[in-house]
Symmetry: C2
Subunit: 456 residues, 2 copies
């Protein structure tokens, strides 16, 4: 049987595949730092050459920033697009790394063998799981199981400024039956996951101004409006006693979880006690009538990410500040409309302002949630394929964060996206000593071989 | 009549007196900056020499910091002590000064002639009003009207670390019948004032800690406790809807204003509309059933002087911070006990903490209010004397700020203090382009001559 032969080939080729990944990890393709611009080109060239070695028609495509890599190979069967990114996070603080971040190597640890180095998990290692699956398939069969478009970005860690324009300009070329994205993690170390819900994100920077200048509290204390107090009152009013957000209309478009999904999540047995315990917490602090998984995957939130006002240095200054400001963000779900929520939030704040206070608003981020339509048959096929590879049945999960690319595929290309990845919570992505388990890499490659087989 | 001759002498000597002040203002005696240590010595030496030229037994007295200047001269009549400080505030930001801060000169402005330079109002110019009054008295009469102790400090702008120990060690030497302090202002530009109430000050730095590290709001948002929200709720609860502080026992020891004082304050016709209007405000924002003067002079307050937490730089970071903190200060009146209020505040905060949150407290400042006993006959004598000099009757006023020295005289030496000064609201003390009106200097000197005459 073809799949078994491919899986064997993957097992036999693991050492060579790891060497190839280590080769790619040596290129310091830090996208946010202009000093590494040439390295981003080198990483793109490396990928073009590697894809070409598989007979794929691959090219490096210029953008105003770092290049895209796009490759096509034709074959019978459905057309899938695979997305990953070759750029990596900066490495600061360098002194916290146990080895040079771009001198990757295999390490034996108490929890098993890992590939240590910047980008090993996010996202070069994950990207290469798919490429290696294709390499094995080609080695065994001389061709690939279906028509595939490879689409690698080099700006994911710096806000993807070129992504939407590139997708818009090359929409016809990038259309496919389904998009596969490998930039997420396992649910738990033995349970593979397909992300079907991504929360959206809306940011608002709110500044309250009272007096025209900072005042001395000895002179004005007691009689003058204090914008820190006004801001605190507004923030305190954002949630009611049950943890619900009080902004009018905030819950418009928030769907209830389907009974099937709720049951499946229940079966996951999410260990929220250790999830919270790892960071020194014990109690879920969100809406009181929701489970912890709902709080982070399927419910919208309002959080304050930063606040400042007055004197914040050492010691004391009895100042009554002129201004106080906060950065407030909303994670959105379902059909919540970021524009409507922004307007409602601003009106709600403005209506509460006491005399002599004004509010200024500055918008940041503005993306709705993405919900994948798991009715697409590829989802159930992929879920079965993943379940065959891993000890536990694959789960449909949510993701508390925002991965805008999934929404772009739907909005710009009309393509559903399936997010499958093999990272683990302890991979230290964006932090010193990033690693990718050899098991993630090995079983990740095998997983893609099974998924390609299943959906072809 | 002696007083008339002294006043004439003051008028005739004004130019020379101004030159002497300008000479003193040229010495950059910035006490908080070690780079100016030698200049503080120079200023003290200057004062010692000037007092000695009046036949006063003056010496520079070492402390662990900058020196004190102490001078004595004997004469029949009561014993008064005069306090002022020769150190000045730093000059930053230097670029906002219209001339070099230590190159003082007389300037003609639309509002009259001013002496421009750092320390002109706070406090060298005010200190010299008393010295010049003594000089004129001595020139006319060959002696001073009463026994006088001069007591000049060089650390007032840097927290007076040596003051209390020095007063304790030299208590017998510094005891007098009444202490005169010249470091305050006129009530309005034509109305002299004697401060009879000084608010105390209590500072608390409150830090709320949730998780053991900063969290990503994509991963934990909705389920993890956010200390900014907890802190905001605490701050929002510090005042009720009528503007009263809610901390249990906070108003213990807060006296009601006597009907006489209330009536006198009423007669002052305080123009709170322009007091607030000058800084862009229109509404008194304190306790709803109190007049604006009560709010700033005779009522206690609770203010937030600074707040910070999470990401406060440019742009947005969706962090859930581990910590959030605020600097909170209380202005105290009457017999309010700072220790009891600190304890009550801490207990009140701690009782409100949700699960998984801790609070850390750091105390700053801790001084009760001072209320002068205006029964001392010097008060009414001085009030009449000031009323004779100025167009408007002198007022007993409160002071929203805290001038701890007055309390020290009472507590350490058992001496009542009378605070009389001639500064104006627009003197820009602690700011660039500090000035002292020539009228303040001139009529200030004349005022002290009248006060000395009246109480001798």
């Amino acid at each position: 049987m073809t799949l078994d032969a491919v899986l064997s080939r993957i097992d036999d080729d693991l050492a060579a595949a790891t060497d190839r990944l280590i080769d790619l990890l040596r290129i310091p393709s830090i996208s946010t730092d202009p000093a590494y611009k040439a390295d981003c080109q080198t990483a793109a060239d490396w990928l073009v050459a590697d894809l070409q070695s598989l007979g794929i028609d691959a090219t490096k495509r210029p953008t105003p920033g770092h290049p895209m890599v796009v490759g096509h190979i034709d074959a019978p069967g459905p057309h899938v697009l695979f997305y990953g990114h070759y750029d990596v996070q900066p490495v600061d603080p360098l002194e916290l790394w146990d080895r040079a971040p771009f001198d990757p190597q295999i390490e034996d640890t108490a929890k098993g063998r890992v590939i240590r180095g910047r980008g090993s998990s996010d996202d070069k290692g994950q990207l290469m799981t798919f490429v290696e699956a294709c390499r094995a398939w080609k080695a065994v069969n001389g061709s690939l199981p279906c028509k595939i478009t490879f689409f690698f970005e080099g700006e994911e860690e710096s806000g993807s400024p070129s992504l939407v324009p590139f997708m818009q300009e090359n929409a016809e070329e990038l259309k496919s039956d389904i998009a596969l994205i490998c930039d997420t993690g396992l649910f738990q170390s033995k349970t593979p996951a397909i992300v079907t819900m991504l929360r959206g994100l809306l940011g608002e920077e709110l500044t309250i101004t009272g007096a025209t200048k900072d005042l001395h509290s000895g002179m004005y204390g007691g009689v003058a409006m204090n914008p820190i107090r006004v801001l605190s009152r507004i923030i305190a009013g954002l949630h009611d006693e049950t943890g619900r957000v009080t902004i009018p209309g905030f819950y418009d478009g928030v769907p209830e979880l389907s009974p099937e999904m709720a049951e499946q999540w229940q079966e996951l047995g999410f260990d929220y006690a250790s999830f919270l315990g790892d960071v020194g917490l014990s109690q879920p602090a969100g809406e009181q009538d929701r489970t912890p998984l709902e709080m982070i995957w399927s419910r919208p939130t309002c959080e304050v990410n930063g606040i400042k006002g007055g004197y914040t240095g050492e010691g004391f200054k009895t100042v009554l500040p002129s201004k106080a400001s906060a950065k407030i963000s909303f994670r959105l779900v379902g059909e919540q409309d970021p524009h409507a929520i922004r307007e409602s939030f601003r009106a709600w704040v403005t209506a509460q302002l006491p005399a002599d206070c004004t509010a200024d608003f500055r918008g940041h981020g503005n993306s709705g949630a993405s919900t994948m339509s798991i009715e697409h048959p590829a989802f159930e096929s992929a879920r079965k394929a993943l379940s065959d590879e891993w000890p536990e049945t694959a789960a449909y999960v949510g993701c508390g964060g925002s991965i805008p690319i999934a929404g772009h595929f739907k909005k710009i290309l009309g393509t559903d996206a399936m997010l499958i990845g093999f990272g683990k919570d302890d991979d230290q992505i964006h932090s010193p000593n990033e690693k990718y388990d050899v098991e993630s890499f090995h079983k990740g490659i095998r997983s893609w071989a099974r998924v390609l087989d299943a959906i072809s």
